[in-house]
Symmetry: C2
Subunit: 193 residues, 2 copies
């Protein structure tokens, strides 16, 4: 080893993640990437491979962060109902305060790439399955503690919450009236009896 890399790989990957997250795969050019990452083209290729490999690394990083973020949010609350309520309400609040957020990188990828590339089909599917497991565990906790009715089917309910989360996230991209989203959240949460 002779000359050391001048840029922070993790920092550069984070910049790439933000860009792909915001604009998607096709709409993000290599010039966009090198500008945002602050590195030259050959440095990008030597460090991350081609555009698709960089995208995959960025998505994997997002999925890790997203998973632990959701886990934290759901566990940061004594009440399970309250945890889900603040989780969904914060999701909505984040989207409606000021300028729109970028939505979910994984969901964007499900739409843009999953149908045409098995690698991304699997990656995004496994993330959704993982989220449903986190949800399920949280629901089971609520049942065990007596907060939720023992008649609830934790797995089915968790899967339904994942579907609802996806639906809300995508719907909000069209910026519907807030009441549309609020009503849906309220009704979805009513499933947690």
């Amino acid at each position: 080893m002779v000359r050391q890399r001048e840029f922070d790989e993790e920092r550069a990957l984070d910049d790439a993640m933000q860009l792909f997250w915001e604009k998607g795969y096709k709409a993000t050019s290599l010039s966009d990437l090198t500008n945002k990452m602050g590195i030259q083209r050959p440095s990008l290729y030597s460090a991350f491979g081609d555009k698709e490999e960089l995208f995959e690394a960025a998505l994997r990083k997002y999925i890790k962060l997203h998973s632990s973020d959701i886990r934290t949010k759901l566990q940061n609350n004594l009440s399970v109902k309250e945890a889900f309520r603040t989780f969904f309400e914060d999701l909505v609040e984040e989207e409606y305060k000021g300028s729109p957020s970028k939505g979910c990188f994984c969901i964007n990828t499900m739409v843009e790439l999953a149908p045409y590339d098995e690698k991304f089909e699997i990656l995004t599917r496994e993330h959704q399955m993982y989220l449903s497991v986190i949800f399920q565990e949280t629901i089971v906790t609520g049942i065990s503690s007596g907060e939720l009715e023992s008649s609830l089917n934790a797995k089915m309910l968790a899967q339904t919450l994942v579907v609802s989360l996806i639906g809300l996230t995508v719907l909000m991209k069209s910026r519907p009236e807030r009441s549309f989203v609020d009503n849906s959240v309220a009704m979805i949460l009513s499933l947690l009896k």
Copy 2:
């Protein structure tokens, strides 16, 4: 008027719709379009304007077809519960038999373009609102006939069903285990009491 157009505009627009629906805006090139539509580039420009105008026309056509298709499916049934059940189950069945379908053109556009172009934000939002109205009318019918409990909030429920429809459509792009989707559908339908 002197020389008449050699191609069927409506047919050509339908071809463009299929292509944009399948591949999205950016991933569909003008060469893809002229090949599929069977016309030359200048014919396309003179008949439909530029790529974005053609895309908008294609999306508007899809939205019209989709609206009336859903209206038909929901009204083709004596029981409201049964109508929604077959609607959602057919949606899933269509996706899982053989090769995957193209999903929903409007949802794809919500993800790819709505956040960056107000024209498509409005267009897609209004379609989702329209769908929720169709759903709401159907639910009200069920309440009036006594099939559904009068305590149901038709509007909230309809909006929730739209969110669920979006979530299911997007989730299926990652081709999850069928039970994941079936469970969600069953739980969503349980809201129709």
